[in-house]
Every structure is written in C-alpha cells, then in structure tokens.
Amino acid sequence: MENKELAGIASQVRRDIVRMVSAVNSGHPGGSLGCTDFLTYLYFEQMTHNPAQFSMDGKHEDLFFLSNGHISPVWYSVLARAGYFPVAELGTFRKLSARLQGHPSTDKGLPGIRMASGSLGQGLSVGVGAAQVKKLNNDPSIVYTLHGDGELQEGQIWEAAMYAAANKVDNIIATIDDNGRQIDGDIDQVLSLGDLGLKWQAFGWEVLRMDGHNFDSIRSTMQAAKALTGKGKPIVIIMKTEMGQGVDYMMGSHKWHGVAPNAEQLEAALQQLEETLGDY
C-alpha cells in the first residue's frame, strides 16, 4: 500500500477518534492519536488476518493484543475500517449495552478482540501465552502486542519479558508507544524508565526503534522485525510517538491523555484532519 493511502486511512481514523470521544465526553484521545499510524500500518499492511470472518482462536492468522486498553478508540476505528464490524457502530462507543466498551472486552463479542484489557501490564503475558500455543500448533504466524511506555512501570511486563527470552519465544513482536507521557505528567517526572533500550536488551530481547509517524520508518522496521522472528529471541520495537499527533492543541502535553474535546475543540480538530473515507 502506498504511503499516501495509509495516510488517508490514518486521517480518517483520527477523525473517528476525536468524534468518538467528544460524543460521549470521555475516553482517551492522546495515546489513540499517537498510535494511529502504527495500528493503521499493522492492520492494513503488516498482519495476515481475516476481518470478514473473525475467529477467537485465530489459527493461521497473526494476532494482535492491545495491552494499553485505554486507547480503545484507535483500535475500534482501525478494526471497523478494516472490516471487522460496521463503521456505524463507532457511534455506540462507551454507550450503554454497546459492544464498544470504554476499554476493550470480549464480553459482548466485538469481532477483532480476543482479550479484555484496561488494567495495565497484562497484555505481554497474554501475547506470550498465545505465541507459545502458535508453536505448539505448528502455526507459523506472529503475535503482536502494543504497550504504553507508562505501562512498563507494571512489574508483570518484566515477568513476561524474562519468560519470553528464557524460553526463546521468538514469534512475538511487542511494540512500545514511547510518547514519554502518562496521566500525571512526563514519565521522567513520574517514574523514569531509565534506559529503555538497554533494559529490554538486558532482558534478552532484540530491540528495534522506529518513528511512529513515518510510514517508511514503520514499514522498514516492521519488516525487519518480522525477519527477526524464528531466530531464538523475542522482538521489541521502541516506537517514538507524539501524544495527540495530528491535532495541534493536543500535542506536546500529557493533558489530553484522558480528556475529550468539547464541541468547539472538536471542530478545531476536524479542521486539521481530512475526511477521506467518510465519517461514520
């Protein structure tokens, strides 16, 4: 897919995100906008998957687990735009009885979601377990996970990291959304992660880096990551992003982690994001 086409999808996804959170005056636009380009690339170019016929077991499909479940708006939009469920359903986000819960869940059977997330730190373990089963089933496909950088403060992440390296789980590619911010402020102010690359390296992972807002960088890094699978080491990509990317007034601050734009702010955001595929 051409970069231009990917950028067009991403622009529509960003429109979806701000409209979804604004409509219910809640939700997490900042990280969602920051991970839009990555998830667009992942679902529209990288993964082998079957949106038309979702199966929980996902045999012979690549799997994706969103560990930082609060950025559900971007995931829901990408899933809908990829064909997992009707785009119109994005209008039910966070509403009573909706399949699009505030944080992702399997509870109401939304296609594309295989595990609840929201309480942080659990998704890497889930991904490692699913990756182990792929091996048991002689299924060569790959497991992808996405994590917030703040989420890495959870201890369970490092339990899973240790396990995966020790057991040569080399069919998993974890991506870290390295935006440097969390709810209470800059990560370095709240609880510094130190040298993240060295940490993952010390835990025995293959470490790659990419620019999460440059499709050339995303493409070459994701291809490199895929080429590294099956070589005895789990793979992590530290992805540099900007929280709120694409909406000028949301960028450069942690303020829009979990705050929805009002009607006026929404209009200002939509002015900056081209409608490419039609709003839901």
Binding site: M56, D57, G58, K59, L63, F65, S105, T106, D107, R114, M115, A116, S117, G118, S119, G121, Q122, G123, L124, S125, V126, G127, V128, G129, A130, A131, Q132, V133, K134, L136, N137, D139, G155, Q156, E159, A160, M162, Y163, A166, N167
Partner: protein
Amino acid sequence: MEFEIFGNKDTRSGFGEGLAELGQTHPNVVALCADLTGSLKMDAFQKANPERFFQTGIAEANMIGMAAGMTIGGKIPFTGTFANFSTGRVYDQIRQSVAYSKKNVKICASHAGLTLGEDGATHQVLEDIGMMRMLPNMTVIVPADFNQTKQATIAIADHEGPVYLRFGRPVMPIFVKPDAKFVIGKADVLTEGTDVTIIACGHMVWKSIEALKALHEIGISAELINMHTIKPLDEAAILKSIAKTGCVVTAEEHMMNGGLGEAVSQVLARKAPVPQEYVAVNDTFGESGTPMELMTKYHIDSPDIVEAVKKAISRKGIII
C-alpha cells in the same frame, strides 16, 4: 453410617494423578507451574508431556496471563501454585484476563487453608473461596478427599469456562469411591438425617464424618452434605435437606466471611430462613503449627462441629 475407607492420601496428590491422566486423554490440556511442581504433584504430567508443561518461575501474574493467552488457539491451561498465590496475588489478572474475558483456564490451588501448617499465616489463605466466588463466570470447586480431587480435576477439563479448584496438603482418609462420578454443581448427600443438615467442603467433610459418630451417640440424626461445588451452589440439595431437618451447620476451612457458609446463608435468607451455625475461621489470620493443632485452636475440628450442631438445633423454632 459406616464409611468405607480407601486409604489415606493428600488431596494435592489427587490433583497430580488427575492431571497425569488428562495428559494421556486430553491432548489440548497444557499445564503451567510457578516453581512448585513437586508441591503440586505436577511432576508426572511434566515428565510425560514436557512439550505441554510450562515452568514460569516465581512469577504468578505472568503465569495467569499466559494461561489466558494459551486458550486462544484451543488449549486448556491448568495453572498450579499455592492457593494464596493462585488468588490474592493474581486477583486482577484472574479478574480481567480470565473471568471477564471468559477464558477456559483452570486455576488449581494447593496448600489452601490452615492445614498448610507450619509455614504459617503468610501462606495459609483463608479468603480464596470468597474472592473467587465473587467473580462472575467463575466456577469454584473444593473437593473433599484424594479420590474426589482426582475426579474433579478430570471433570473440569471438559467444562468450558474458568474454574477455581482448591485442595490441600495434609494426608487425610479417603472415603469417596474410586469410581464415583464427579458432577459439577451437584452435591453429594453422604448420610440422611432428620435433626440437622451439615454442609461441608474440603477437609471439613472428613471432620464432619468424625462428628457424626459423636452426634449419633447423643441421639442426633444428622444429614451430611458434601458441597464440593461452592459455585454454582446446589440450592435444591440444601432446600430439600432443610425441609426435613430445619437447621444447618456449615463447615469449611476458610474465613467465615465470604465462604461456603455465607453462600448457604444467601440461599436460606432468600428461600427458607432456618437457624444456621458456622464452623469456620472467624476474622483472624492463622499461625504456625501442625495441621491438626491449628484446626483445634481455630475451632474447625470435629468437636466444634458437634457443638455447632447442638446450638443450631437448640435455636429451632425460636422466634426473636
């Protein structure tokens, strides 16, 4: 009221034998253990099925998360560690990744309750039944002896959905028949009686059997129910029994708060209020000691059941 005894063994060994059998009969069963393979008696499964055994190290949160992930692709994961580390330590992982996500994970928990013994209160979890029965989608099973633990282990593999299976460390008499069929949610009525209904689970079923003799000697006819499934609770068995006896004693190796007794109380309060007495640990932590010393000190021994029965019967027909 004579019970045939089939030897003496620990319930955890029943789990180990059941799991080993599943290794042969169920190719989709996988097992995970957090550095307690010997204590959980998972060695036989591990030896026979090394490719289906996953040693996670002392990292229980990761073990539960991995187990949840392993259901995707059709496996049936059995996790093994002590009951304390199977529940309280990983409650949020179980809540989100197993119960809420309705994953087919079997959480198998050994060394539950006071009878863990000398290790003391840090390891003697007495709140686990309560924690697990509060979770939607969770089935909670507390088998009574070696045979029943083996039968329950095998039965839960064919049950779709999250299960908490609780067992223990001490060697106790075996009284469930080796060929008995374990039915989840269907209580076993061990003796029929007319004066009182004793509802027990786990090791307390044997303690109740011991109490039956003393009760018989003082002319009390007790109906003993082995309530091996705490959730879903066999309400019909409770109501049928109390219609005859008119009072209840519950007996469990667990905190009074949240356990079997409380589950039974909910049925009685809503459907048929009758006097109930609780044989359970009353809002206190345990301590080091031999299993039997601890059962005596914390009042969950057979004489405590006898006293509770007398009290329950004495309260029948009293309107306050």
